[in-house]
């Protein structure tokens, strides 16, 4: 009975209007932001493309190899895979550990040795 009276007290038209308006405004604002971002993304990609074209080397007349036209900064899929594998191995610590100590094997019969010790030359 109490619940019924509570439900009767609510001005439903008002509550529904606020709900509809509130959700509608949230959706509209975020929809506007979608358009803003899409427009901005398009603009920036077009600008980026122009920039890349301006930086790319001039295509050689007919005889040039196709590779020469490609922008220098792009890497092939195989290169990317190799880099990714190397990074993966590096972070997994799979690589051999080097001692970083350089050793010189002494060879008394080498040309350098004779050069440095003239007495042995004869």
């Amino acid at each position: 009975m109490v619940n019924v009276s509570i439900l009767a007290d609510v001005v439903w038209a008002d509550a529904w209007a606020r709900t509809g308006m509130g959700f509608g405004v949230v959706f509209s604002v975020l929809l506007i932001l979608v358009f803003v971002l899409v427009a901005f993304g398009l603009f920036s990609r077009i600008k980026g493309k122009k920039h890349t074209q301006a930086q790319a080397p001039q295509p050689a007349p007919l005889k040039a190899a196709p590779q020469a036209v490609a922008p220098a900064a792009t890497a092939s899929d195989a290169d990317k895979a190799a880099i990714a594998t190397a990074l993966y191995l590096y972070f997994q610590n799979v690589h051999d550990e080097e001692s970083n100590v350089i050793t010189i094997q002494h060879n008394a019969n080498s040309a350098w040795h004779r050069e440095l010790n003239p007495r042995l030359a004869h």
Binding site: I6, L7, D9, V10, D14, A15, W16, R18, T19, M21, G22, F23, V25, V26, F27, V29, L30, L31, I32, L33, V34, V36, L37, V38, F40, G41, S44, G48
Partner: protein, 422 residues
């Protein structure tokens, strides 16, 4: 030595004898006993203190042992403990409710009175009351957020918007349960799964419900990995969950810098009430993305954020006093909080499925559930559920789009509720 001790005992006896008329040992003992917290627990409704202390200890257990949002739950729970220690008077609820918020009182909206008469927690609470702490936290959140996935896939904004359905469905439900419009809006915002936004709106619309709402918001945010998966599995088929999405495009630095400026301008022009939250969020993000104020970006991410979290958590916990918290309305707020989270999750997933009817490149509906804010936990849940269905599925970055869109969406929802009801 004996002579000295004898002299001192004589002196003591004479002193007690002189003051015997004015000093009533029985009265003093009675006063002391009355002031003891232990005695107050057994007087009148003192048992409520005991319940609140037990509840605070339970929340501390969840924060420490279970690690449920410990950064916020721990200070909130301890603030709750401090405010419910009988006789300690750490926080004066009556000063805020009967004087500060009462237009008939001579101390109506008087911060000077709070500074003069209040305790430590009262003074720190001014930051909550004035809506300062949530905004400062938003600067830190902005500095820690990468909006790249959202910029790369602007459609994510729609999923973030759809997930705000939880706020408005709960708003209507709260109305039906007898809460007035301001209270219903404050309860509904729990569905935004965004603690600072919930606190910001509640302090403006229904400050007397701040304790239960903050605790519900943060507790349920911690429970996102428990609440969301059953709803996600219920609303999607295995085939849908297996959908693999194309890798997102690379976002340039220029786009990342212009994004916060553009969003602030657009949102503030349409909805000025959302400007404090959105403005602070985007300010933090601009600090990070511009790359020219690294020191500021690091400060807002760490020192500022941590200090404000301590102040906010402790004072919000302090508002959960026995008289305001142990109420049937609190239980209904906690129940409606779960409804809000559930509906928000469902709203995002269902809208993703609707979008799939029109899109050439299908999206995995699981990313829709990340439209509730709860960054980055909701996105992680999408990733986990996606990988369960298809081990080759990597949804994390795709889910981050709706996830950060949800933060913006809930701030916008708070703005519209504030403009309608504030």
């Amino acid at each position: 030595m004996k002579r000295i001790l004898c002299f001192l005992s004589m002196l003591l006896l004479v002193t007690v004898g002189c003051f015997a008329d004015s000093f009533d040992f029985g009265e003093a003992s009675s006063k002391f006993l009355d002031s003891m917290g232990l005695v107050q627990i057994f007087q009148g409704e003192g048992w409520k203190y005991l319940v609140m202390v037990a509840l605070a200890c339970f929340l501390l257990f969840l924060a420490i042992k279970k690690q449920y949002e410990p950064l916020l739950l721990l200070p909130i729970a301890f603030g709750m403990l401090l405010t419910n220690l009988p006789g300690a008077n750490m926080f004066h609820t009556e000063m805020w409710n009967d004087e500060f918020l009462n237009p008939a009182s001579e101390y109506y909206h008087s911060y000077r009175h709070v500074l003069a008469e209040g305790g430590l927690l009262d003074v720190l609470y001014i930051g909550v009351k004035a809506g300062i702490y949530p905004c400062l936290i938003f600067i830190g959140v902005g500095a820690m957020t990468d909006f790249g996935p959202l910029i790369a896939n602007p459609k994510s904004f729609l999923l973030g918007a759809a997930a705000q359905l939880g706020i408005f469905i709960t708003f209507i439900t709260a109305h039906a349960l007898g809460f007035d419009s301001q209270e219903a809006a404050s309860i509904g915002i729990i569905g935004g799964a965004d603690g600072p936004t919930s606190i910001f709106l509640t302090t403006k619309l229904a400050p007397h419900l701040l304790g239960p709402i903050a605790i519900a918001a943060y507790s349920y945010m911690a429970l996102v990995p428990v609440i969301q998966p059953p709803i996600m599995r219920l609303l999607t088929t295995k085939k849908e969950r297996m959908i693999e999405m194309k890798q997102l495009r690379t976002v340039s630095k220029t786009e990342k810098i212009i994004f916060p400026i553009a969003i602030t301008i657009v949102v503030a022009f349409i909805l000025p009430d959302a400007a404090p939250l959105i403005g602070c969020l985007m300010l933090g993000n601009l600090m990070k993305e511009s790359g020219v104020v690294d020191r500021l970006a690091k400060t807002v991410q760490n020192e500022l954020m941590n200090i404000v979290v301590i102040f906010l958590g402790t004072t919000v916990g302090a508002t959960a006093t026995a008289s305001t918290f142990l109420d049937i309305r609190t239980i209904s707020i906690l129940c409606m909080g779960i409804v809000a989270f559930g509906v928000a999750t469902a709203g995002g997933i269902i809208f993703a499925k609707i979008m799939n009817l029109f899109l050439k490149e299908k999206i995995n509906p699981l990313i829709g559930s990340a439209g509730v804010s709860a960054v980055p936990m909701a996105a992680r849940v999408s990733q986990t559920e996606g990988q369960k269905a298809n081990p080759h599925n990597f949804l994390l970055m795709h889910a981050m789009g709706p996830n950060v869109a949800g933060v913006i969406g809930s701030a916008v929802a708070a703005g519209i509720l504030l403009s309608m009801l504030g």
